[in-house]
């Protein structure tokens, strides 16, 4: 399931949400750690220390704390509060879904005659007021998402037929039709809501400015909007209780000011988005720098209904013309030296679902470009640009305004494709125009932007299936903005949507990505590095990345070294 929320850079429209990696581990002398699995971090040093306060820097904050309300799209809300206070069915750890401490074990999956999931809730699981977390909470959560007002997205929950509560610690969820991404429900960015507290009141009003309940290791103590957010330990948390006395997230929107705050010791950790220049954090004395390849990826998306990309040959020729290795190295090598280009619409963090069909377009191959373009009736003009029927192979790439990384990517690309006979113009526009108007309405030839998956669930039907091309059947709201109709892509991805066998899903992903590499509705460029920088002399414990919930989801295992 692709379920994109407001990214870490709201202004850019998209940003980073999650990260994981499958690249070789290396610790360099400058304090850089590049870790392999995305969740490996600095090992614990010394015994756990009780007490002390953590102060961390946050690039953004939540717009509100009603996680299922339309005001709650910001991923930073998840990183700083939701993941630390709301119970969820599944954790996303070591690149895998794992039953969280909320559950007594792996839920039981039945596939016939209908898809039924039976969740057994941990007997010890209680809200912070001591009330047990029960199946009624599952039922209430589903009811609010499906029937509540002002809901952010009902995606997935609409496919649920019923949530039964045979006993307080057993929730039975029956689906109308098979739904492959079921692990993302009853948790993820929403969480499970306490029915005993919220049932008698307006959920949105009760939660949007903050709430005092918790089914996680921390309790939200205060939200000073625009300034900071403070959490304290949940004394009734049934799993690993926090060591520290509090966490305060200071809102630091300015990148340079955030770096200075880390350097001056006003905050002890940053989780900055990958932009050229973040490598400066490595040079700060006493700072540990971790960088891994995330789940998010950036690509050049081609509108297959607009010239010159209406033919497959031109799209393939463009793929052969772009040196993706050079782009990735130039952008991210200073941050993550071993970063590699991606060869499908996924990153290595997708584990077995990462395949490499786009590898065939590397390295740059001028003769292939000539072969494909010539076969399609193009010939190079005196200016060295391909032309056909008086039409030159020129195109414009739209991207989001104010994003230095994207502009740099396109500037590199511009010279690369020019050498292969393509003329490319760059048009940075407001993200709201790109994503709100131009892309959905097909008013672009090519666009550079990111896809930010909410998990490593490989269902990408939303962006590739022909049924999701904006049109009458979906009220122009589909998200297949490349508008490519290709049965070879439809077939595997329509199946993945309903496939519950993970091995079969992996096979289908391989098939689907191969079809995409053949049809080239888009060209994958780079994965994003996911960065953590922290003061080693302040944070004790294993500091590591989490692709779904951010690094602070592990803060209950850390100690304050220096009080």
């Amino acid at each position: 399931m692709i379920h994109v929320r407001n990214g870490r850079t709201r202004g850019a429209g998209l940003g980073l949400l999650f990260s994981m990696a499958l690249v070789a581990s290396a610790c360099s002398s400058d304090g850089t750690t590049t870790d392999p699995g995305g969740t490996v971090g600095t090992p614990t040093t010394g015994a756990e220390v009780q007490g002390g306060d953590f102060v961390f820097g946050a690039e953004q904050e939540a717009d509100c704390f009603d996680w299922i309300g339309s005001c709650a799209g910001a991923s930073w809300g998840v990183y700083t509060v939701q993941a630390l206070t709301m119970p969820r069915s599944f954790d996303f750890d070591d690149n895998k879904y794992k039953p969280s401490p909320l559950l007594a074990g792996e839920p039981k999956l039945e596939t016939s005659p209908k898809q039924v999931i039976t969740y057994k809730i941990n007997e010890k699981a209680v809200w912070n007021d001591g009330t047990p977390i029960t199946s009624a909470d599952y039922q209430y959560t589903w009811d609010q998402i499906v029937n509540g007002k002002d809901i952010y997205s009902k995606s997935g929950y609409e496919k649920i037929e019923s949530v039964a509560t045979p006993d307080p610690k057993t929730a039975v969820v029956t689906y109308r039709e098979p739904y492959g991404a079921w692990r993302d429900l009853f948790g993820g960015y929403y969480g499970i809501f306490p029915s005993h507290i919220l049932k008698s009141q307006d959920r949105n009003a009760a939660m949007k400015d903050g709430y005092k309940f918790s089914g996680g290791p921390w309790i939200l103590e205060a939200w000073n909007k625009g300034v900071d957010t403070k959490l304290v330990p949940n004394p009734n948390y049934w799993d690993k209780k926090p060591n520290a006395s509090s966490i305060t997230f200071k809102l630091l929107e300015d990148t340079a000011a955030a770096q200075s705050a880390l350097r001056s010791g006003q905050v002890s950790m940053l989780y900055p988005q990958a932009q050229p220049g973040q490598e400066q954090l490595k040079s700060i004395p006493g700072i540990k720098f971790q960088s891994i390849t995330s789940l998010s990826y950036e690509a050049v998306w081609l509108n297959t209904t607009k010239a010159p990309f209406t033919t497959k040959n031109v799209r393939q020729a463009l793929a052969y013309a772009i040196d993706r290795d050079a782009i990735v190295k130039q952008l991210f090598a200073p941050i993550q030296p071993d970063i590699k280009r991606i060869d499908s619409f996924a990153t290595p963090a997708y584990n077995e679902n990462y395949v490499t069909p786009f590898a065939k377009y590397s390295p740059v191959n001028g003769s292939k470009v000539t072969e494909l373009m010539t076969a399609d009736g193009w010939a190079k003009g005196p200016d060295g640009i391909w032309a056909k029927g008086g039409q030159k192979a020129t195109f414009e790439v739209k991207t989001t305004q104010g994003n230095r990384r994207r502009l740099q990517t396109l500037e590199i690309m511009q010279s690369q494709v020019k050498a292969q006979g393509f003329e490319m113009a760059i048009n940075p526009i407001k993200s709201s125009v790109l994503f709100g108007e131009d892309a959905p309405k097909g008013n672009f030839q090519a666009a550079l932007y990111a896809q930010v998956p909410a998990s490593n669930d490989p269902d990408q039907c939303a962006i590739w299936c022909s049924k999701n091309i904006p049109g009458p059947a979906n009220a122009e709201s589909g998200q297949n903005w490349t508008r490519l109709v290709d049965p070879a892509i439809d077939e595997p991805y329509l199946t993945i949507e309903k496939e519950l066998d993970t091995k079969k899903v992996t096979e289908l992903v391989g098939k689907g990505q191969a079809a995409i590499a053949e049809g080239v509705p888009a060209i994958p460029v780079d994965p994003f590095p996911d960065i953590i920088a922290y003061q080693e002399n302040v944070i004790g414990g294993t500091v590591r990345h989490n692709p779904s919930f951010g690094p602070w989801v592990y803060a209950n295992t850390w100690s304050v070294k220096k009080k």
Binding site: S70, K225, P472
Partner: protein, 350 residues
């Protein structure tokens, strides 16, 4: 005087109304509050938000369109539910409803956060007022002292130094100065003297005591003040030079008054008149113009509120913000006029 004030206030009302129409139209034309849901895989999500923030209204019906084969198609969500289409509310109606709410003192909630706008503005204004108060106080003290000294000791070494420094300060972008100030006051001094905490903080102005408050305010106040000090110093110097060359100062000197009395009693009093009016106008415009300082120092003030609201097309915040800022500008302009008349008896408001 009273008539003058009433007339100025009355004239400002149509100005505010025109400004509010322009802002409403500008924001509606350039930003889409639904854009943040553009990539949500639920077509009804946008409709729900549009209903909530008044861009659409009931009745809502399932969207039925004509398919490629000419047959009617009911649009569906990925979950198989009908895609709902609601009645769009014209921009003029949205504006009229908004102003109606405003007239009834029922400010709609922020479209972004759902919080009462009055709460958002109150919080932002509180931070900005603190910053402006201290910034103006410090800037005025330094500017007057330097300006008077430069005028009285014209062409002295310090006059040249102040003149040079003011030009440097005027040429310095505030964001650059702010970052340099953080680097020096927060980072360098801490490292240099091996302190546990930075000497001056660079995050927010929340604090737990007067000393901490001063340490939080020092850098933002310096950043806010650097260009103001420079321009006010130049202004004060020029104004004092005019005054010090006036006949009545020569007379005062001839009468044998002490230098201090001549400068402070006769010179400064008159030399301050132009500066006070400039200060009043500058303070009014500062209420909405501290975006850079507030951004760099993470201060949740009016400038940052404006920036965030504009990015998200939140007219429910932007309009009251504009009205409040405009009110301050008008009030302080009015104050400047009144002060001018009050400080210089030769000037009478007509």
């Amino acid at each position: 005087m009273v008539t003058f004030v009433i007339r100025r206030v009355a004239l400002s009302i149509p100005v505010l109304l025109v400004a509010s129409v322009l802002v409403f139209l500008f924001v509606r034309a350039t930003t889409d509050p639904l854009a943040r849901l553009a990539q949500v895989n639920d077509p009804n999500a946008k409709t729900r938000l549009a209903l909530q923030i008044g861009l659409q209204e009931e009745p809502c019906r399932p969207v039925v369109t004509t398919g490629p084969d000419g047959n009617a198609i009911e649009a569906k969500t990925p979950g198989g539910q009908p895609v709902l289409g609601c009645k769009k509310v014209p921009v003029a109606t949205q504006y009229a409803r908004y102003m109606g709410d405003l007239a009834r003192r029922e400010l709609p909630a922020s479209q972004l956060t759902g919080r009462p706008v009055s709460q958002e503005l109150r919080q932002a204004l509180g931070s900005t007022i603190q910053l402006i108060f201290w910034g103006v106080l410090v800037a005025a003290a330094i500017a007057i002292a330097c300006g008077v000294y430069s005028a009285v000791r014209q062409y002295s070494l310090l006059d040249y130094a102040f003149t040079g420094l003011t030009f440097v300060a005027l040429a310095m972008p505030p964001f650059w100065f702010g970052l340099m100030a953080i680097q020096f006051g927060s980072v360098y001094l801490r490292d240099r003297f091996n302190l546990d905490d930075p000497l001056f903080y660079s995050i927010g102005i929340e604090s737990d005591g007067p000393l901490s408050y001063a340490r939080h305010l020092a850098l933002p106040v310096a950043t806010l003040g650097v260009q103001i000090i420079a321009s006010w110093t130049r202004f004060q110097r020029s104004s004092m030079l005019d005054v010090m060359n006036a006949d009545y100062i020569r007379t005062a000197k001839a009468k044998g008054l002490s230098r201090a009395k001549v400068v402070l009693k006769h010179g400064l009093r008159n030399g301050l008149i132009p500066l006070v009016t400039v200060m009043a106008i500058d303070i009014g415009s500062l209420f909405g113009g501290l975006i850079i300082t507030e951004q760099i120092f993470s201060i949740p003030g009016m400038g940052r509120l404006f920036f965030t609201s504009l990015q998200n097309g939140d007219v429910n915040v932007l309009l009251p913000w504009l009205l409040l800022s405009a009110t301050f500008v008008i009030l302080f302009n009015l104050l400047a006029d009144v002060l001018y008349g009050a400080l210089d008896p030769r000037i009478r408001v007509s």
